[in-house]
Each structure stands twice: as structure tokens, then as C-alpha cells.
């Protein structure tokens, strides 16, 4: 073991409501790639970390530790990085204690569209396409609403995980960190990223189907129902979540966005964000 092997790089991350320290061995390509991927989640280190995760490599085998506890181990370094990103997201969501919705959020000129949907609906591909078209990325995963009196959504700009087909559709270069089926991209390398808060002015429901893209109005109560249904933590405070979901839906018109391919849907989404409020 050399002196270089003992050096560590540490970054402070804000992941939803939590402060995380991520530590990787210095001078190692894999560690640098992980730090680069989570770069959009880096925050000023004014507050102590609530959790510290450390990536180590010993005899060609990679491990992820939480303190002294082994969380993950694999001879496949990139695979471990992918699993680390997924675990970080899962733990942060499990710990979330304010109203948060499984949703993508994209913004334009200080207005945000929230897109509540379960995994596999196409949120991430839409986000990547929107980034390429000049919209601003807040999250493809979790819309967090810490302020009970407002519809301000807090950014959670985690890396984008895109299937090979989506990468090809969007014409993206191969990702440095990838699994057999997905590539991971730091969002700020694809376009504009917001790290603060933006006011939600539109609720958008995705409808993947053949044909030309089209936006049609939805009852706001449908949007409220979807926001509640896609909340990660409504079961902890059902009445509070119900009031938050209905307040957001009452403040923002709801649209069904029908489309086949994400790039074709982005101009419609931009149009919804640019429309007069109502």
C-alpha cells in the first residue's frame, strides 16, 4: 500500500433533507467518477454530516461502508458505484419527513412543472430531453415541499440514469459510469440545473402513446389524487399530505401530456410553463 492509497477525497452532499459526507480513495478513477456524478448534490460544508459513507478498494474488491458497517461489496467497481447511488437515494427517501412526491420537476424562467409518476413512466428521459432543450432540471425522482404555506419545490438534482435506448434517442455519448443496461449522467453536463427552490405552476401527467404530442387539460382533483398517490410518505401524516396535495393542485393547472418520444413533448412542456398563470 502506498501513501497515495491512504489519501481520501471527501465531499459534502445534500440529498433531500439530509447532509451526507461521501469519502472515496484519492487518485482512483472510480472514486473520481463517483464524485463527479454526484457533483450537482454537493453543498457548502457549514453543517456536520448526518451520515458518512466511504468507498474503499482492497485487493481489487470494492466496498461501501457506513461508518464501520459494510453496506455493499463487489469486484465490479462501476456496478458498486451504481448500487451506491441507488442506495443513497433509497435511504434518503426512507428518511424523508416532509411532504415529498415521486415526481420529476423541470423549470423555465422561475416556474416549475411537477410530473408525478411511478418508475418506468419516462420521467428521466423527459428530463434529459428537456435539459437538452434549455429547460432547468430540479429532479427526476423526488419533489420535496418543506414549506407548508407554499408550493415551493426543493431541488434534488441527482444523476440521471438512462437506458441505452434513451441514450440513443437523445444522441448522448456513452456514460462513464454504466451498468449493462443504463448509463449515469451528471445533469449539469447536459444542461441547466437548479439547486434551490422554484414555485410549482403546472402539474403534468405523462401519457406515453403513439401519435402526435398533445396537451389536454385535466381536472385539478385528478392531479391532487396523483400527487397524493405518488407521495413517498403520506402514510406518516395522511391529513397533512392530503392538504398539501390539494393545495398544490389548486394552485397549479393540470395537463395530460400525450407523446410518443420525449424530445417531441418538450416544446409542449415549455409552452405550458410559459402560459399565463391560471
Amino acid at each position: 500500500m502506498t501513501a497515495q492509497d491512504l489519501r481520501l477525497d471527501r465531499v459534502a452532499l445534500g440529498v433531500l433533507g439530509r447532509r451526507w459526507d461521501l469519502v472515496v480513495p484519492a487518485g482512483r478513477t472510480l472514486g473520481a467518477e463517483l464524485l463527479d456524478l454526484v457533483g450537482d448534490l454537493v453543498v457548502p460544508t457549514h453543517e456536520p454530516a448526518e451520515d458518512t459513507w466511504t468507498l474503499r478498494e482492497t485487493d481489487g474488491r470494492w466496498q461501501l461502508y457506513r461508518g464501520d458497517a459494510l453496506l455493499l461489496a463487489s469486484p465490479d467497481g462501476p456496478g458498486l458505484v451504481v448500487d451506491t447511488l441507488r442506495l443513497l437515494n433509497t435511504v434518503a427517501i426512507d428518511d424523508e419527513d416532509v411532504f415529498a412526491v415521486h415526481a420529476a420537476v423541470l423549470a423555465l424562467d422561475g416556474r416549475a412543472a411537477i410530473v408525478p409518476a411511478v418508475s418506468g413512466t419516462g420521467k428521466t428521459t423527459l428530463c434529459a430531453a428537456a435539459l437538452g432543450a434549455g429547460l432547468t432540471y430540479l429532479t427526476d425522482e423526488a419533489a420535496r415541499f418543506p414549506d407548508e404555506e407554499a408550493t415551493k419545490v426543493v431541488a434534488y438534482p441527482r444523476p440521471l440514469s438512462l437506458l441505452s435506448a434513451s441514450q440513443a434517442l437523445l444522441g448522448l455519448a456513452p456514460a462513464p459510469v454504466r451498468s449493462q443496461t443504463e448509463g449515469f449522467y451528471r445533469a449539469s453536463l447536459l444542461g441547466n440545473v437548479e439547486r434551490g427552490q422554484v414555485d410549482v405552476t403546472v402539474v403534468v401527467v405523462l401519457d406515453r402513446r403513439p401519435g402526435l404530442p398533445e396537451a389536454t387539460r385535466l381536472p385539478r382533483s385528478t392531479a391532487a389524487e396523483l400527487l397524493l398517490k405518488n407521495s413517498f410518505n403520506h402514510y406518516r401524516d395522511p391529513r397533512g399530505a392530503f392538504l398539501r396535495a390539494t393545495a398544490i393542485a389548486a394552485a397549479a393547472p393540470s395537463w395530460l401530456l400525450g407523446y410518443e418520444d420525449a424530445p417531441a413533448a418538450v416544446p409542449l412542456l415549455a409552452g405550458l410553463l410559459s402560459a399565463p398563470r391560471g
Partner: protein
């Protein structure tokens, strides 16, 4: 038969109305029930004291001028759903 039913509105139901459509949250549930405009009117009649299908139909006829026979089936269906979901409680 539904016509023979009477009910009372369950306690503790949280109601929010958005663009003329009510959303209900039962105190024992984590998921909401979203009502269309017609069901919202029926729910409003129930909360205003209508406790049988006949009373709901009469209240809607008086308030909205709708044909009683035309809406009876919708009222019965909505009441059954609200009873099933626990927002209305059948009374003897």
C-alpha cells in the same frame, strides 16, 4: 334495496373542493376519494342532511332543477360507493 337505506356522514372526513370537484379523505385511510361534479353534488346533499336516496334526489331536484327519475340511478350508485368506502355509514 338502496331506497330503503338511510345513513349518516362519517365523522372526521376531510373535504377539499377544487374546481367544483370534492376530494374526501377518510380518517382511517391514507388515500383520497376524488368525486366528479355529480358525485360532489350528491355528497354535498348528504352533508346538508339528506339521509336517504329519496331525500338526496329531492334536494338535487329542488336545488338544481334536475329530473328526479333521470338522476336516481346515479344517486344510488354514488351512495353505494360512499357507503362502501366508509364515508357514509348505514343507519338502522
Amino acid at each position: 334495496m338502496t331506497q330503503a337505506l338511510s345513513w349518516q356522514v362519517a365523522d372526521g372526513v376531510l373535504v377539499q373542493e377544487i374546481e367544483g370537484r370534492a376530494m374526501l379523505l377518510h380518517p382511517a385511510s391514507t388515500s383520497a376519494l376524488s368525486l366528479n361534479e355529480s358525485a360532489t353534488s350528491i355528497w354535498a346533499a348528504c352533508t346538508a342532511g339528506a339521509a336517504t336516496v329519496d331525500e338526496v334526489v329531492e334536494m338535487l331536484h329542488d336545488a338544481l332543477g334536475v329530473d328526479a327519475d333521470a338522476i336516481r340511478a346515479d344517486v344510488e350508485a354514488a351512495v353505494q360507493r360512499l357507503l362502501h368506502e366508509g364515508y357514509l355509514l348505514a343507519t338502522p
